[in-house]
C-alpha cells in the first residue's frame, strides 16, 4: 500500500497528515516539503519573529518527535518536480514516491517585482518563509530607510516592525487607499492613523516607477516623479497560488487548483487543500489565504480520503497584529454593498459588512467582543440589523439574542 502523499509541508499539509492519523489511517503518510524545516507557523514571521520576540522552535506546529511517533515521513528540503497520474507517482529529487491518494498543499508564492523595475536588485525582499525573514533580519537596524511596496496586511505588519525598531519607514500603495482590496474605508482609516501615530509615512495613490542601484538598491523612483533614498525594500503585492505541478500534470486550474466541495481535484485520486486550492463559495470560485482555512480544509480532505464525503463550508477568520493593535476578521466581505461602523471605547471599532440584509463579515480593531459576537452570528447563518450594530447603547453581547435568520428579518 503506497498510502497518502502530501506535497507541501505548511499548515494545510500538516493538518491533512495529523488528521489522517487521528482518524486511524494506518497506511503510509508522507509529506514532501521544499523548505528544509519541519512544518511551522507563518503568521508570526511578520509579527514577533522578525524582531526576535520569539524563536523558530516555538513556531513549530508540532514537537520534532511528533512526526516519527505518528509514522509520518517528512521529506524536507526536497521539492517535488513532477506528478505522474498514470503511474501514481511523484518525482522528488532523485526519488520516485508512489501514492494511492495525493494531496496538493503547495500554498502560494509572493508576487515579485519584475527585473525591469529593479526587482532583482540586492536588498529587495518578499515575505513568505522563515528563510525570507532570516535573510532580512540584519537589515532591521535603527535609522535605516525601509520602503514597503504595497499597503496590504503583510506590508502594514512589516511597517509596524520597522517603526518599532526605529527605522525610517515609507509605505507606498498604488490604489487610492491602503487595504482597498480587502477592507472598507473605515478600516483603512484606522490603520492609516495608527501608522501615522508611529511615524510611518504612508503614500497612497502612488505606485513604484522603479528601483535603482548598482547591484543593490539605493533609490526608488515613484510614480509621481519623486525619488527616495532607500536602504532596503519589502515587496508585499500579493501572492499567487502554486499551481505549476498540478497544471503540468493536466489538472484543471481555475483561480488555483480547482477542487469540488469535497476537496477533490479533477483527478479522483488527487486532492488539494489550503491556499493553493480554489472552491465554489457563494456563486464564485475563491481561494482563502488564512491559517483557519488551511487547518479546516486540510482536515476536511483527510476526512474525505477516509470516505466521510463531507462538503466544505468555509468559515473564514483572520487576524493581524500591528504595534499594540489587534485586528480580527470573521467572514468574507467580498460582494458587500454597505457597511456600518460600531464605535468602541478608546482606540477600538468594528466594521460590519452587509449584502442586502445579510451580514457577511466584520473587521474588529481592538474589539475581541465584537469579533466573537459577529463571528458567531455569521457562522450560524444568521444576521443582525445594522441599526442594532451601530447602536452602542446596546451591549455587544446583547446582539446575539437580537440576531435572526434572513427569513425572520423579512417577516418582521
Amino acid at each position: 500500500m503506497a498510502g497518502i502523499v502530501i506535497i507541501g509541508a505548511g499548515q494545510a499539509g500538516a493538518s491533512v497528515a495529523a488528521k489522517a492519523r487521528v482518524l486511524g489511517f494506518s497506511g503510509q503518510v508522507t509529506i514532501i516539503g521544499d523548505e528544509p524545516v519541519a512544518p511551522y507557523q507563518r503568521p508570526p514571521l511578520s509579527k514577533g519573529y522578525l524582531i526576535g520576540e520569539t524563536n523558530f522552535e516555538r513556531l513549530l506546529l508540532r514537537s520534532p518527535s511528533f512526526w516519527s511517533e505518528n509514522g509520518i515521513d517528512l521529506k524536507l528540503g526536497a521539492p517535488a518536480s513532477a506528478i505522474d497520474r498514470f503511474a501514481k507517482t511523484v518525482r522528488c529529487c532523485d526519488e520516485t514516491v508512489r501514492y494511492d491518494q495525493l494531496v496538493l498543499a503547495t500554498g502560494s508564492s509572493p508576487r515579485r517585482l519584475p527585473a525591469q523595475v529593479g526587482g532583482q536588485l540586492g536588498g529587495v525582499y518578499t515575505f513568505r518563509t522563515v528563510a525570507d525573514a532570516n535573510a532580512m533580519t540584519a537589515e532591521f537596524s535603527p535609522g535605516r530607510k525601509l520602503l514597503i511596496v504595497g499597503g496590504g496586511y503583510i506590508g502594514l505588519e512589516a511597517a509596524a516592525l520597522g517603526a518599532k525598531l526605529g527605522l525610517d519607514v515609507t509605505l507606498i500603495e498604488m490604489a487610492p487607499r491602503i487595504l482597498q482590496r480587502v477592507a472598507a474605508p473605515a478600516t483603512s482609516d484606522f490603520f492609516r492613523a495608527l501608522h501615522a501615530e508611529h511615524g510611518v509615512t504612508i503614500l497612497e495613490n502612488i505606485g513604484l516607477g522603479r528601483l535603482i542601484g548598482e547591484g543593490r538598491v539605493s533609490r526608488a523612483l515613484l510614480s509621481d516623479g519623486t525619488e527616495l533614498e532607500v536602504d532596503f525594500v519589502i515587496v508585499g503585492i500579493g501572492i499567487a497560488p502554486r499551481t505549476q505541478l498540478a497544471s503540468e500534470a493536466g489538472l484543471v486550474i481555475d483561480n488555483g487548483v480547482a477542487t469540488d466541495a469535497f476537496g477533490r481535484t479533477s483527478d479522483p485520486s488527487i486532492w488539494a487543500a489550503g491556499e493553493c486550492a480554489s472552491f465554489r463559495h457563494g456563486g464564485s470560485r475563491i481561494r482563502l489565504e488564512s491559517v483557519g482555512h488551511a487547518i479546516d480544509h486540510g482536515e476536511l480532505v483527510a476526512r474525505n480520503i477516509a470516505g466521510a464525503a463531507v462538503r466544505y463550508k468555509a468559515q473564514p477568520w483572520f487576524w493581524s497584529d500591528q504595534y499594540n493593535a489587534k485586528l480580527q476578521i470573521a467572514g468574507l466581505n467580498v460582494g458587500h454593498d454597505r457597511f456600518v461602523v460600531r464605535e468602541g471605547e478608546g482606540p477600538s471599532q468594528s466594521v460590519w459588512y452587509y449584502r442586502g440584509p445579510q451580514l457577511l463579515a466584520l473587521d474588529a480593531m481592538n474589539d475581541s467582543r465584537s469579533y466573537m459576537v459577529g463571528k458567531r452570528i455569521i457562522e450560524t447563518g444568521q444576521t443582525i440589523l445594522p441599526e442594532f450594530v451601530s447602536d452602542t447603547s446596546k451591549d455587544v453581547k446583547s446582539l446575539l439574542s437580537l440576531a435572526t435568520t434572513i427569513t425572520e428579518t423579512f417577516a418582521a
Binding site: 508570526p44 509579527k47 516555538r58 506546529l61 514537537s63 497584529d321 489587534k326 475581541s368 467582543r369 466573537m372
Partner: protein
Amino acid sequence: MIKITYVEHNGREHTVGVPQGGTLMEGARDNGIPGIEADCGGACSCATCHAYIDSAWIEKLPAKQPMEADMLDFAYEPDATRSRLTCQVRVTEALNGLVLHMPERQA
C-alpha cells in the same frame, strides 16, 4: 522544566515538563496532548486553547489581560474564575505542579 498536569475531558492525565517561559498551550502542543487546538498559534486571536485551571492554582496565576477576558467570555462553557486561554499563561517556577482540565470542546 516545570511539572504540569493536563487532564483531558475524559479524565486521562498527562504529566509533562514544560520549559520556563513557555506557555501552557505550548506544553500541550509540544507533548501532543489532545484537547487544546490553538489554531492561531498563541496570538490570543481564536479562543481555541481554553482550559480550566484547577481551583487550587488559580490564585498563583497572573491576572487576565482585557483581551483574554473578552475572548474567554465567548469560549465554550467558560467559568468566570477557572477559565484561561492557555496561550496567555506563561509557565514559571511558581506554577510547578499545576493541574488544568480540558473543556469538552473548543469554541
